[in-house]
Symmetry: C2
Subunit: 683 residues, 2 copies
């Protein structure tokens, strides 16, 4: 169902309307009265009239059709009110009331009851514990945000899990000319969650861009899919708060701890084409400017009257991964003909401190048809005319509506009018170059991010059987499972007693490796549970005796011995690879490939991919540092096989949902083959 239509009500009931002007229920009613053109029905059992409106004792008393209910009764009364609303066939309710799961156990119980009712009910709910929502087309303000703030109609949607950021942006919007389509506070998201809202706004023709602030996510996969769907047609930006909070589930083992808390989010946003930012300022700037620009090039032109500002901006462009545009010889010659001889006609184009508005205009005229973003830098100098320069920029933009000019007016009181002139005319304008570059970076990523295709994934024919796994398994037990996937690994056999050693060694051959296997000792080598490079029967006997005398006494019956071929005999030229997987609680399997062995714990050169692995993920891996190291260490056939292993692991994790982590570390990668030598599965 698409409840974007629900957000266009003809009649709204305010349940919990209050006579006390300081109460939320009163402020919302007041805000609606100022902004809403449809019918408003206050509900309050203890009042007859509020703000000159007739008050109903109960929603059931209203005879007219009601489309939406705003609920701000005390938490204990919410469920009863919801039931009444459903009886009145109201399709959507916004529960402002707080005091649910955010306050602890008591509240969580109340919220669970509501959740249970909603499972079978036909009414949908935003909240509880939210600020409400604002729609600008048709206009209504169903929040308790101060209505003094001028609210502009525009094309930015904003979904926020933080009510305070929401009220801050609304206040900021009034000064900074930000126009909104819809602003929605999602609160506890007990029914309608962030993904539902993203999907709804995808279908809202008034919303051309979307910004999201969130901390927790109800369902990672669903959210990711909604973002991917949205970003196919419109840009979406996410600021995720709480990046560094260590969650107890996230860091269960090796591969997981390499990833870090935020890794899965980062991958998910990138995979779904969502622009991800760290700064509140960037979130606000995106809402203001993103819909004004269609950035399809990462080659930037800088025009400046301030050499230093040009240099610093060039640095930011480089560190953002963007490029400085190379100008054609013809264009360069035209610039030489136009500009004073002291000017620098190489990008950044320095038109000098005495640049007049005319010089700015003539330079821009030469550049706008290059189809490249232009950062215009202005510093107030002796001969400078800020406002007149701003006017020229605006004229150029009117003549060339597809031009992408981002203006930066450095300074203070002298440039204030120029800034405001451009701001009021919906031109992107900044106080400093850094945020302009940030917007270009984000928008370029959006317009060029790889669409997700899965031909490699589909081509892989690995059959994965679902395994019953109730405890961690290591060594040969784990190896068996990887064998079924077709992953090449070192030959290995169990050694039940010392008497079997010779017979087993004969089958394995020398040199060989003796290892213990115990569910309690994932890190064998630390405990002296691994002896490598055993060259003959004698050494093997001694190694076994030594290990047993050290370990068996304390671990009676809990440990087993295993004998493996020593793959170092293949060649000394090798690279140790780590293959692994980690199940993110929100986004599912993450597959890891990196440099392995003893260094992996400290040097985390590891690439992660979120399941399902796309062709774009593979291309990114091949192009990465790790990919380049590994492909240069082996032949093409083996490297391609390694890539297929990633997909196999992905499918294995996807089928076996009990598994939390997998470590294949190291896989020894040789010039013309590779062999997995150690095997761990954690549930």
């Amino acid at each position: 169902m698409n409840f974007i239509d629900f957000l266009d009500p003809k009649a709204i009931a305010v349940i919990g309307a209050s006579r006390d002007p300081n109460k939320v229920g009163s402020v919302i009613l007041k805000n609606l009265r100022i902004t809403f053109k449809g019918d408003i029905f206050p509900v309050n059992p203890f009042a007859d009239e509020i703000q000159d409106l007739r008050v109903y004792k109960s929603i059931l008393d209203i005879k007219d059709k009601v489309d939406m209910a705003i609920i701000s009764v005390p938490a204990d009364g919410v469920l009863k009110v919801l039931k009444d609303c459903e009886r009145r066939k109201i399709k959507i309710a916004v529960i402002i009331t707080a005091g649910f799961k955010e306050i602890g156990e008591d509240g969580a119980k109340k919220e669970a009851e509501i959740r249970k009712f909603l499972d079978k009910a036909k009414i949908r709910v935003i909240g509880p514990n939210c600020l409400g929502l604002i729609n600008t087309n048709p206009f209504f303000n169903a929040t308790f945000i101060d209505p003094n703030s001028k609210m502009l109609k525009g094309d930015a949607g904003f979904i926020s899990q933080s009510g305070a950021l929401l009220s801050a942006i609304v206040d900021d919007a009034s000064m900074n000319n930000i126009g909104f389509s819809k602003i929605i506070s999602i609160g506890n998201a007990t029914d309608i969650d962030e993904a539902d809202l993203v999907t709804a706004l995808k279908h809202d023709s008034n919303t051309r861009i979307l910004a999201i602030y969130l901390e927790g996510i109800s369902n990672g996969k669903k959210f990711m899919d909604s973002l991917a769907d949205f970003s196919e047609s419109k840009p979406v930006l996410v600021l995720k708060g709480g990046k560094f909070a260590t969650t107890s589930t996230a860091v269960s083992s090796h591969t997981g701890s390499l990833a870090g808390d935020y890794k899965a989010y980062e991958l998910a946003f990138k995979k779904s084409g969502a622009i991800s930012v760290d700064r509140i300022e960037s979130l606000f700037n995106f809402m203001r400017d993103a819909s004004k620009l269609k950035i399809t090039s990462n080659e930037i032109i800088i025009v400046t009257n301030a050499g230093g500002a040009g240099v610093v901006t060039t640095d930011h462009i480089a560190s953002a991964g963007l490029k400085m545009a190379k100008l054609s010889d013809k264009l360069t010659q035209n610039l030489i003909d136009l500009l004073p001889k002291e000017a620098s006609v190489h990008n950044p184009i320095d038109i000098l401190g005495d640049a007049t508005p005319d010089r700015y205009r003539e330079t821009l005229e030469m550049l706008v048809n290059q189809n490249k973003p232009i950062i215009l830098l202005f510093s107030p100098q002796e001969m400078s005319m800020p406002l007149e320069t701003a006017k020229e920029v605006f004229e150029i933009h009117k003549k060339h509506p597809d031009s992408m000019i981002l203006s930066v007016f450095l300074g203070g009181s002298r440039v204030e009018k120029a800034r405001n002139f451009l701001l009021e005319r919906d031109m992107p304008i900044y106080d400093y170059p850094e945020e302009a570059v940030g917007l270009l970076e984000g928008m370029y990523f959006y317009h060029t991010h790889k669409m997700q295709t899965y031909s490699a994934y589909k081509k892989d024919k690995t059959k994965v059987k679902k395994q019953k796994l109730t405890k961690n398994i290591f060594g040969l037990d784990a190896k068996k499972l990887f064998d079924t996937l077709g992953i090449r690994s070192a030959k290995g056999l169990p050694v039940n007693r010392q008497a079997d050693l010779a017979k087993t060694a004969e089958k394995i051959g020398f040199p060989c490796v003796l290892k213990v296997n115990s569910g309690d000792m994932p890190h064998k080598s630390k405990f002296g549970g691994v002896t490598v490079g055993i060259k003959d029967q004698d050494s093997l006997n001694r190694a076994f005796y030594s290990m047993e005398s050290r370990l068996s006494a304390e671990n009676k019956g809990k440990i087993h011995y295993e004998l493996y071929e020593d793959v170092n005999k293949i060649s000394e030229q090798k690279v140790e690879v780590l293959l692994g997987a980690h199940r993110d609680p929100q986004f599912g399997p993450m597959i890891a490939v990196g440099l392995g062995g003893v260094l992996a714990n400290q040097i985390s050169e590891v690439n992660f991919m979120l399941s399902p692995i796309s062709d774009g993920d593979i291309a990114d891996f091949i192009d990465s540092k790790v990919g380049r190291v590994l492909s240069s260490a082996t032949d093409e056939i083996t490297f391609q096989e390694l890539i297929r292993y990633l997909i196999k692991l992905d499918k294995f994790m996807t089928t076996n949902t009990d598994i939390k982590d997998i470590d294949l570390n190291p896989i020894e990668l040789f010039k013309d083959t590779m062999v997995a030598t150690d095997f761990k599965i954690f549930v």
Copy 2:
């Protein structure tokens, strides 16, 4: 000499004063007349009176004492004027005139002539090609920056290589309450350079903090020393423009290319205790707020009425390497008693959306005596009172002048008055939390940066002899030099002809390694010039034959063969270490230590230290990723020896200034020893 006194003239001559009000020479005169209390003497051979002042035909005509000359005559006339100034015993001249080395060869010639005259002259020069300077105590504006901008007396010094940034900050200052001590535009720095000015401002008691914008540096070592000297008593911040410009000299070989262009700057700033920033905004904010705060703790407290803003700020604190302060049980209990039960008393302290000014005050009162920086976050919500809250913050600060409160008022028109209230009262105030965290990060670094001590360096008794080096040397020739330093390396001998093979092998022993040595082939293994693990005479003969037949024909007489012991026989448990050095054209030797071997090219886990290596550098290395990997791979004695090798290389580079790069890659690091196996010196 300390020319800070020069910047306090009693009489100033303006040479090149102009009647045309649009000319620089007129604007400077006008600015001086408005601001300067001493005598002003305009000089212009073609005028009798300008701006009601008597004009002198030449500086020589002035009978009174003149302390400073501001020169804005055409470039061709500057030298003559300078000579006249010297005759008049003027101690300092500021050359505004452009048209010198910045415009190419012609100008460079003129500048060289001036430079040559200055070498023997007693007059000192700021510029040419600069904006001039402003002193606020005693006040005078000897620039052509628009005097409309209100100029505030304060304690921030600003040295800028960009005139435009300088005029931007002066304009910004008028809106943002930034007070300056001195503002100096250094231009081409043909005489007085950035280091001289840093040293001068160190002795200026009106300057309590210093900000520097620069692109090029005249003398890296001198600049670094001046920064180190300055930062011993006062904070200094540097924004370096042109970080990513690839200089042709910088990237000469392996170790150098690992470093990247900006690495040496980064190390130099860190070593000298200078705060380094990337954003123009951070530069401006530092000038405004740095002197207001003495930040001695990296444990931050957040007080917020906006949960989401608290979460995002916590993220920024984590990624800046700062910490969230842990509150004591007693303090926590006090907060519980004070705040509503829905409040969060754990840092970030969320005092809820309905926080009154009183609640802010009472919470702050509990926290100010913790001696920790407090970020106060405010979002305008329904019940919020921005201005009253700001007033409470100011009252708290008055009562506790040592408190470190940085206020962030999110929003727009509703919080504008509150922001301005705090701004006008010199309280640190920000629109967004990111810049507040940035300032805390920088100031914490400044107050805690390790003072440079050199006990390890001094204790090392290595005698380094200066070598005559005219070409690159590799292999045994290079090894000999490292032997003199006492660096342990693999045994090796030259093999002159095949007939000598057996005799040489007897001395080296098996297994051994056969290598070619040629000045043209630094990367031997790529050309098949290395065979490792040779087990017996037979294999050695074959290896030699194979190598010779492949390589000798084309390289007649140019290559030699060398036989080394194969140190892999010591143990298979080893880590490959890269030791190296690179001479930065500005800052001198940089010593590198990292993970070596085949991966070093791609995985640049390498630590760099700028010469001379300090105890702090060593402590940082031991604490780094690389340091932890290496110290866990070997015993303490060997690890300490490795550290001494760094100092040996440093001394070797310092003495042998012809050497550009050194690669000792790999040094094989074993459990209880280490051995260098490959040797390269580039000149």
